[in-house]
């Protein structure tokens, strides 16, 4: 919802917001320039001093104005010729032209009204409103992404465009809010919508009727410092009923030109003062430094517009186009999608197309847009839901479970739920399961039992499709081949072989990083960004199905490294372990945010066996800030398959690795990594008590054994691995 409130004002009002910010940034220079070029009062004379100096130089003076920059302008008649000049307050002499700056006037009219008077003002005010909405919704998005307002300035991850966008936004957003909110106030004031209109000062009926008091002797002007002056108008010489009119930053009044006495005075109202302050904050007139800062911050807007467009475009491209999407109110079938990376949308598009070709009207939307009261005449609702982390809502399903739980009566339309996930994870299709359970609890009829699709299996999906078709009475042939990211050839740099003597042939393979285009760097596609724990998809020759390997290196290392164990009869691992330096393999990158050590200073317990050490070694290698890391590593024999044996010693000396406990399953005292944990149980428990994060990587059986062992170790403290998982402190990457 907030994302929509951010995206649409941005796309619709982008041109206006760009024009506002660029012209505003240009205008911000003028108050500062004016402040530097205007002759300033050295001492601080009174208005009486200043006016008499000017009067002496220009006897026909009619009006004196003082700008917030300190620039003093006098207007007088020289015979019949109207003249005006900037005045040096020390001498009263004319020192510069008083003509207003034509460029500034042009920019001002563009900035506030597009040269279109009132209609233009309204358009530009809408632009300012869009900017305010963007600033507010953007702030919420940043806070949500960072995990709360306290983490406003936390380090950023992800593609360059996204980081640049947020980096600029979190600095500029306060200035943009100030500029846009004050702009709206000023527009409201101009259109008379605020009670800040200047109160009329009534001309006094009885004046002395005399003329000729020297301005230097008027007490009230002597008591008014020139710095508070706004303007002083002199009376017409030939009209004894005319008066001096004085405006200061406190109010306005009339002074008798015969006696010099104050005839009337009116203070500025509170509203007028507020409006004047807002005018100062917006224009920088009287606050030149603030104006320059706001102008500089406004220059962030074009960059945010460009990066924002890239983010939006990249997200759109990552999602398949659904054609012929019928409006919700007219759809018989509503397909709701909960997707994290976008792959579930691909399945949804296939389903949508098949139903449409069978003559159905279908509406597809993100799960987060679900509203039980607005399902129109839909007969059925089909939910395709991926899982994020341990059964959490994926990004396009935010808020769905809460809405489902708050629903009072179930919709008339019947429900079917299809979960997507990876059966090697403990919470396989956990989110879909929660949806089905909650829906059942709410009494929402499910016309088809919940089904699952494991690792994007086309077979699972087709099977579910035929069940669905049978129930709907139509032949439904769902053929979906997931679209893989474009693969690039990776050249092998080096290989190091281990484990041949212990029947566990493994290799550390290091590839060079292919060059990324600017677009890939901006959108974070290709090999522009990766870290240890992300997945390298390798497409073996003679197959279209990729195999995934956990990365043991990050982009900052400058190479791509994986540990591959040759599986008996394995197509991909066989090819990889046969590669010689200089040869290439087709590969692509898949981000794996579910397996990260995260920020912070909490200690990390790394537990792995065999080739599972890959990502763990990558975490240690990247540990430049010397966070406490404790590695438990299980192998067969230290002499044969001690992967990264030399580096681990070196990393320990560099302070990147705090401790290493290894376990060898062959030899004199065979034991496993679980045994190593048991042996160090007291230390492990201590680390967990200190808030340690646990990262486990290896085979499924080993991970299950580790979980059980850790359960025993934690039990005295009343903790379980499940509790740590729920807290986001226990992660597994298993295969």
């Amino acid at each position: 919802m907030i994302r929509l409130l951010h995206r649409w004002p941005a796309l619709l009002a982008m041109l206006l917001v760009l024009m506002l910010s660029l012209s505003g940034a240009a205008l911000s220079v003028f108050p500062a320039a004016d402040r530097f070029t205007a002759p300033q009062e050295s001492a601080s004379p009174s208005v009486a001093d200043l006016a008499s100096r000017i009067k002496a130089e220009h006897p026909g003076v009619e009006q004196i104005k003082r700008a917030p920059s300190g620039r003093i302008t006098a207007y007088w008649f020289n015979g019949d010729v109207a003249e005006a000049a900037t005045i040096d307050p020390a001498t009263g002499k004319a020192v510069a032209s008083a003509d207003p700056n034509a460029v500034q006037r042009w920019l001002t009219n563009l900035h506030r009204s597009l040269f279109l008077d009132d209609s233009g003002r309204i358009v530009m005010a809408l632009g300012a409103l869009a900017m305010l909405v963007l600033a507010l919704s953007g702030s919420l998005l940043v806070a949500r992404r960072a995990g709360g307002w306290r983490h406003w300035f936390s380090p950023l991850k992800g593609p360059l465009a996204g980081r640049l966008h947020v980096e600029i936004a979190r600095i500029a957003v306060a200035g943009l809010m100030l500029s846009s909110a004050t702009a709206l106030w000023m527009t409201a004031s101009t259109f008379g919508l605020l009670p800040d209109q200047p109160a009329a000062l009534v001309m006094p009926a009885d004046v002395s009727g005399n003329t000729g008091v020297p301005v230097a002797t008027i007490d009230f002007l002597k008591a008014t410092p020139a710095t508070s002056l706004r303007e002083l108008s002199f009376p017409a010489a030939d009209d004894p009923t005319d008066v001096f009119t004085l405006k200061t930053n406190a109010g306005a009044g009339f002074i008798d030109q015969g006696t010099g006495g104050l005839l009337a005075w009116k203070d500025l109202t509170g509203w007028e003062r507020v409006s004047e302050t807002i005018y100062m904050l917006h224009t920088g007139q009287g606050a030149a430094t603030l104006g320059l800062i706001l102008g500089l911050l406004a220059l962030g807007v074009p960059v945010m517009a460009a990066t924002g467009t890239i983010i939006w475009y990249a997200a759109r491209r990552g999602r398949p186009r659904i054609t012929g999407n019928v409006p919700l109110a007219k759809a018989e079938t509503v397909v709701l999608v909960g997707s994290e990376g976008g792959s579930t949308w691909g399945f949804a598009a296939t389903l949508h197309k098949a139903l449409r070709e069978a003559g159905h009207t279908v509406h597809a939307a993100a799960l987060s847009s679900f509203d039980p009261s607005r399902l129109g005449h839909a007969h059925r609702v089909i939910i395709l839901a991926a899982t994020y982390g341990n059964g959490d809502e994926p990004s396009s399903a935010k808020g769905f479970l809460a809405k489902l739980a708050a629903m009072e009566t179930p919709p008339a339309a019947q429900l079917a739920v299809l979960g997507f996930g990876d059966s090697s994870f403990p919470a396989f299709c956990g989110f879909a399961q929660r949806i089905a359970t909650t829906a059942a609890h709410k009494g929402w009829t499910q016309f088809l039992d919940i089904a699952t699709v494991d690792r994007q299996s086309p077979q699972d999906f087709a099977r579910w499709g035929s069940d669905l078709g049978t129930l709907m009475g139509l032949p439904l042939d769902l053929v979906h081949q997931p679209v893989l990211p474009a693969a690039a050839p990776l050249t092998l740099l080096t290989r190091r072989d281990y484990g041949a003597d212990v029947q566990a042939p493994s290799a550390i393979l290091r590839f060079s990083v292919p060059k990324s285009s600017l677009w890939q760097r901006l959108t974070g596609t290709g090999f522009a960004r990766f870290e240890a724990g992300d997945l390298l998809g390798i497409i073996p020759e003679g197959s279209t199905v990729p195999r995934f390997y956990s990365l043991a290196s990050g982009a900052s290392d400058g190479f791509i490294e994986v540990v591959v164990r040759r599986q008996p009869g394995g197509l991909c691992s066989g090819q990889l372990t046969m590669m010689e330096p200089g040869e290439t393999a087709q590969a692509f990158l898949k981000s794996n945010p579910a397996f990260r050590i995260g920020e912070g200073s909490a200690p990390v317990i790394l537990i792995g066996a065999g080739s599972g050490i890959g990502p763990l070694a990558g975490f240690v290698r990247a540990n430049a800030q010397s966070r406490a890391m404790h590695l438990f590593f299980g192998m067969r024999h230290a002499a044969s398959d001690f992967l990264y044996g030399e580096e681990l010693v070196q990393w320990h000396e560099e302070g990147k690795l705090t401790s290493l406990v290894s376990a060898a399953s062959r030899g004199k005292r065979p034991h496993y990594v679980q045994d190593a944990l048991c042996a160090e149980a007291a230390d492990v428990l201590q680390l967990i008590a200190e808030g340690a994060r646990i990262m486990v990587c290896g085979g499924r059986e080993m991970a299950a054994g580790v979980s059980e062992t850790l359960g025993h170790i934690m039990a005295p403290a009343g903790l379980t691995p499940a509790m740590l998982r729920a807290e986001g402190r226990y992660f597994e990457d298993v295969y």
Partner: protein, 157 residues
């Protein structure tokens, strides 16, 4: 800009004419100089032989908050917007001409009445009495120079 109004000056209670009130259309035409600023606000009003305000003929400019800068007119009326009900129009651009046709009573001519125009533009000087011209039958059609904003003003009967 061509406006036509009926009996604009019948509003004034300060005027009591002994003769039958006769009126005829008068066209006011004020051409502005190229003063290089935003559109100008103009106030056109009449005073009697004692310089007392009699009534307003026209006010070019829509926002009451800026009327105070037409200082002669504003001081005479206190900015009272009932003085200009139905006789307002748009502000006038630099170098442009304001032309208004009004029905003015015959009795206003050759009786010591004077027509004033106050002018002001944003961030520029206030110019009360930019034009002050006696209303006479003989003066009709003769251009008068203004002091600051107005290059030429004529009234034609």
């Amino acid at each position: 800009m061509m406006k036509s109004l009926l009996a604009a000056l019948a509003l004034s209670t300060a005027l009591s004419f002994p003769a039958v009130a006769m009126a005829k259309p008068v066209t006011l035409s004020a051409t502005l100089r190229d003063y290089g600023g935003n559109n100008a606000y103009l106030a056109v009003y009449v005073t009697d032989q004692n310089n007392n305000y009699v009534g307003s003929l026209w006010l070019a400019g829509s926002r009451t908050r800026y009327f105070e800068h037409l200082s002669g007119w504003y001081n005479a009326t206190g900015g009272d917007s009932s003085q200009i009900n139905g006789i307002t129009g748009a502000s006038v651009g630099s170098g442009r001409t304001l032309e208004v046709t009004l029905d003015l009573k015959d009795a206003l001519f050759d009786a010591g009445y004077k027509l004033h125009i106050d002018a002001a533009a944003e961030n520029m000087r206030e110019s009360p009495n930019d034009v002050v011209v006696p209303l006479t039958a003989a003066g009709a059609g003769k251009p008068v120079k203004g002091r600051r904003y107005i290059s030429s003003f004529t009234y034609k009967m």
